[in-house]
Subunit: 279 residues, 3 copies
């Protein structure tokens, strides 16, 4: 198995030096030498996750999977890793687009959390809410100092779905997850390191990429087939639960955003963001 | 949502300054200013959990839930937090009362572990067995020094039910729970803090209440609706498992106490307690 | 209950000073004084787990269970605790023997992980892969310095089954298990201690046996019945999952070793072992 996978990996490292999906909101560069892909989120200014960037991300992840990627680094083109879900997709939504948006988020989660290849999040800036989720889907997290990360949904009057919570529980345990979610806590880089939410603190981009590659090098003599099966064994229950619950999860989301009180709250929040930007 | 809940909270803080349930074994005081309830167990001398105190506790918890309590501190009127389940309810029991006692305990668990409002246990003295369980149902635990806490059932020849064990696992993990349960370990305050079974060590009542309020203040800008949903997501599996298993759990309990060997053991234990009190 | 069990324990401590199963690959010695059994794996040179040693182990565990053993120490007659599963059982296997081998491994797991009596692994040397599993089935692990332990299956191009992974998760949590399994990490004794994979580092045999006895002494005043029920409550979900999945697990194993690529990989590995031994 190891041998067949290696052949495929070589084919892949020749595949393409760089590609972008339709809307150019996610850039993928593959090193010919290492076969490692760098996946850069680049929806200005803060990688808010709207339908278009999620669709691009999904397409990129599918191509990486198809081409037996040897490893992927997830990072941002900006000073913010990702500000999380784009709240505009929830405010006065067109129902068909809202459905598509949410199911694309589910797809991205399943592709990233269940990827056959190793993944590292180089968290080069703030990673609240959905930004935190994307980084938690990776197998390893390195992060720059003096930044923030966490599932702070309750601070905005909304709720991180069960699969966000389960993903955090798998990293820092049930006790810390409950405290983090109910208080909507944003951890500083240093706090996140102490609690195990991130694995290393890195000094800038070069250090970040080096530490990511150090993680990938742990697999240099490991059969990709055996590696992936082991990952699926550990993550399988969480992925199966999510997969079985997709329809319910979508309905719960649609039901939530159809409530007047939620729309009112989101409206206030969007107004406050506009005022902030105006000053 | 946040807005609707706030209105209700204001209504609640006007609701009542103090109330007690039928038998006066649980006192509830609600601060007009903060809307925080203090729930004091007061069955002399050590808050042994018999049917009457559990029935009062259940009624108090239902009223707090109905009135959208903003937060509750659970504590004791005595130097012992709670000595746990009253062993007299298990010794030569009248079957109907035993059934009612156990189901009331199940009710109290579901109401306290699943409460919509935040809860802090101010553990102002020893909390063995059922006393430990009550504190573990809260979201946060502060405890006075030089005391003890733990599920020590095996020391008495009895067994903490699966839901006691699951509740402990959710706080300190499976590994530590197995060691604690099989050895019937009572942790000192300091050991409990180190292992994460309690969150803070406090110096007396004023400090305890202050730390509890510091915990509640984390939610001052959080939508109670979103907060509660997040809690239900994290605790949901444990609560659902318990709820589905109530009937089996009751039968297992009744079966256990119907055994001669258990009755004999309880008899010896009650005798030894009487001798202790006599000296 | 406690009383009945004690009577049986006394009967057992008279039972036999020493016995060995059919092929003499596992030696069991029971102390008349303490009632504690020492179970020594003795298939030279490194306790590779082939069908015969597993069959002996299974028989020994059944006898210990039947005779209400008070406690068992699992250790090795050699400088290696156990090198793990015997790879020769997977390489060009005779199908009936392969089936019998795997189901015997499943039996050993269920008997050891679910034993009614307390168990300590005195890990007196390297415990990779299946050797690590056996030690993880025990309730307590003490280990000599400067050795190694871990589920390193992926390093050999194979995969630790789900029940190996679950057993590790129950000790060190999901996050650390994923890292350990995907990288096939062998922990040094010191690293294993730090992460909680072992409980104590001991200086040689005398110290190891002393620490094991110190663990057993925690149960000197505990009802064996209540102790065992508590253990079954904590380990029950993992055991039930394994038990329900035995057939699937066997088929997955047979399917895996029937693949050309796996056979090729195992062939290379066996050749490399032969070369090592030749030099």
């Amino acid at each position: 198995m190891a041998f067949r996978s290696l052949t495929k990996t070589i084919a892949f490292s020749r595949f393409s030096r760089s590609f972008s999906a339709a809307s150019n909101l996610v850039r993928v560069e593959v090193s010919d030498k290492s076969g490692i892909a760098t996946v850069t989120l680049q929806r200005a200014p803060v990688n808010s996750l709207n339908l278009e960037i999620l669709a691009d991300f999904k397409q990129s992840l599918k191509e990486l999977e198809k081409n037996k990627c040897r490893g992927a680094i997830l990072t941002s083109a900006f000073k913010t890793f990702s500000a999380g879900l784009d709240i505009n997709e929830m405010y006065k939504p067109e129902i068909d687009r809202a459905k598509k948006w949410w199911t694309t988020l589910q797809d991205v989660y399943e592709l990233l959390y269940g990827s056959s290849y190793p993944t590292v999040a180089f968290i080069n800036g703030a990673a609240p809410a959905g930004g935190c989720l994307l980084s938690m889907c990776c197998e390893y997290r390195v992060m720059v100092p003096n930044s923030i990360i966490g599932l702070n949904e309750t601070q905005l009057g909304i709720v991180a779905p069960a699969w966000f919570a389960n993903t955090m529980e798998n990293i820092i345990g049930k006790r810390q997850t409950e405290l983090a979610l109910t208080t909507g806590r944003l951890f500083s880089t240093e706090e996140a390191f102490k609690i195990g939410l991130i694995d290393e603190i890195v000094q800038g981009k070069e250090d970040g990429i080096n530490r990511a590659n150090a993680f990938f090098s742990k697999f240099s003599k490991i059969s990709p087939f055996a590696r992936n099966l082991s990952k699926q064994i550990v993550r399988g229950d969480t992925l199966k639960k999510m997969s079985k619950n997709r329809e319910n999860d979508l309905n719960l989301f649609l039901q939530t955003i159809s409530q007047d009180s939620v729309q009112k709250g989101l409206g206030f929040y969007i107004e406050s963001l506009k005022k902030k930007q105006a000053t």
